[in-house]
Amino acid sequence: MAAAPLPSPSLAMAPAEAAPAVEILGVDKVFADGTRGLTPIDLTVAQGEFVSLIGPSGCGKSTLLSLIANLIQPTDGRLLWWRGGFDKVGQPGRRLSIVFQDATLMPWARVEGNVRLPLDLARMPKDEAAPRVDEALALVGLSSHGRLYPRQLSGGMRMRVSIARALVTEPDMLLMDEPFGALDEFTRNRLDSDLSELWRLRGFTTIFVTHSIYEAVFLSTRIVVMAAQPGRLFREIEIDEPFPRGDAFRTSAKFADYCRELSVALMEASLASGRGRDR
């Protein structure tokens, strides 16, 4: 794949020193029924980072992602996207894409129509959009499937279409809500590897919600462990392993150590959450 032009030089390397992509400033969320989704949270994700959110059920990781996607509004506190409001999101250098747990494709549109949707909504002319759709489909390895309908694809392929749709706008930040949770282990590992490679080449900031310890360790530069009742940040773990990461990393002792560390952190997070995980 030809390396895409990067939106800013700062994001190519050294994510820790890069400008923040999203800043969560004292954000809490109380739902309409009075349940507290999140206690005040402070979290900054720098441009170019790959941050995974992991934690027991009810810890508010999906809520946090919805807040970052501006799908729900914080009860208190505020969020900044590239040091600006959400109204500026979508401008060059501030593009946001999301991938949901389900592929959420439009069943009435062909694969290429589904991938083109964000460009259509931005009113991009079809002839200008077509090469970008082709490129996005090529990125996820579905070049020859553009004319098919979603129902003709397997679950893994549908998820790839969903990722192509997210990438077609050349996003600066990609939000993913347990995107591979419904897939089998084998497909999940392959998509993880592909995603890791795409992230490395494209440099988009990624915030990734997952239940899988292995997935989080394999993909992330930083893992945020959350605890429930009330939802809060519990611990952060940096994964200090260069990219590209391949199967060699997956089977290394270092990988196992990180998994153990994360596993312990998760157990503690569960104990710290109002009730145990297994009850």
């Binding site: 959420t104 439009m106 009435w108 309908y149």
Partner: protein, 266 residues
């Protein structure tokens, strides 16, 4: 794969056709064997004979009934879809109007028809009105449900991409509603025909614009039972053709993607 396709078709069409032929044969045999008088139950052959003899008047009547049916069906679609759009604009509008739509639906059309025929001077218009009233409800309720049934994930995706209201309507709500709308069409097409025939019965219109109901009434007065059966047969065929046409339209529009129209793959 012609032999397989052939056998699949054969499996689809042979059982109902065979059943039909067997029933007609049994009917014919029973009429002859028990020497049932023609004015009670005519044999299929007698009905066919009467059908051929009265073909011109029967087909003119069919044309008249179908004209009412089609105009009413078209009106029901237009009014039904517009009402559905109105309903999804706000829950308040839906709450204030929906009970009356239900009342319209549950009141038997035979009970309203005489009133309409008195109130509306032009009989043709009264017939169309009756048929429209009965065909309207399934389109309203189905299209309303369809326009409301939107995948919440897709709705979120549209929001994140800052889609305008019009874009969301055209690219999300309307396509989502199509399967429901077509299901409504299938029900309504049959109801429009029923409404037209019922209204004709009540109006009892004769003359040049007489419909199939009038043919049936007239045959009853004249005790021309074979002609009655022939007219009945035409109504049934018209209903079946309408249903098949709607099913075909639905398959054509949704065939590529919707589960209801999905062909079973071997």
């Amino acid at each position: 794969m012609t032999p397989l396709a052939h056998s699949e078709r054969f499996k689809t069409y042979f059982p109902p056709v065979a059943t039909g032929i067997a029933m007609l044969a049994a009917w014919e045999a029973a009429c002859r064997w028990f020497e049932i008088p023609v004015f009670l139950v005519p044999a299929p052959s007698v009905v066919a004979d009467s059908f051929l003899n009265n073909a011109s008047s029967l087909f003119r009547a069919l044309g008249s009934t179908l004209k009412v049916t089609f105009i009413a069906f078209a009106l029901a679609i237009v009014i039904g879809v517009l009402t559905a759009f109105l309903f999804v604009q706000s829950r308040a509008i839906e709450r204030s109007l929906f009970p009356y739509a239900v009342m319209l639906q549950v009141t038997p059309i035979v009970a309203i028809a005489p009133l309409l025929i008195i109130l509306v001077k032009d009989t043709q218009t009264a017939l169309v009105l009756c048929a429209t009233l009965i065909a309207l409800f399934p389109i309203i309720s189905n299209t309303t449900i369809g326009l409301r049934t939107v995948d919440p994930g897709l709705a979120n995706l549209f929001r994140i991409n800052k889609a305008s209201g019009l874009q969301t309507l055209l690219r999300l709500r309307i396509p989502s509603a199509l399967p429901y709308f077509f299901a409504g069409l299938r029900i309504s097409s049959g109801l429009a025909l029923i409404g037209a025939v019922v209204a004709e019965f009540v109006a009892g219109t004769g003359g040049r614009s007489a419909g199939l109901a009038y043919e049936i009434l007239q045959s009853g007065f004249e005790l021309d039972i074979p002609r009655m059966f022939a007219a009945l047969f035409l109504i049934t065929i018209a209903g079946v053709v309408l249903f098949v046409a709607m099913a075909g339209l639905s398959a054509w529009a949704l065939g590529g993607w919707h589960d209801s129209e999905r062909r079973i793959e071997a």
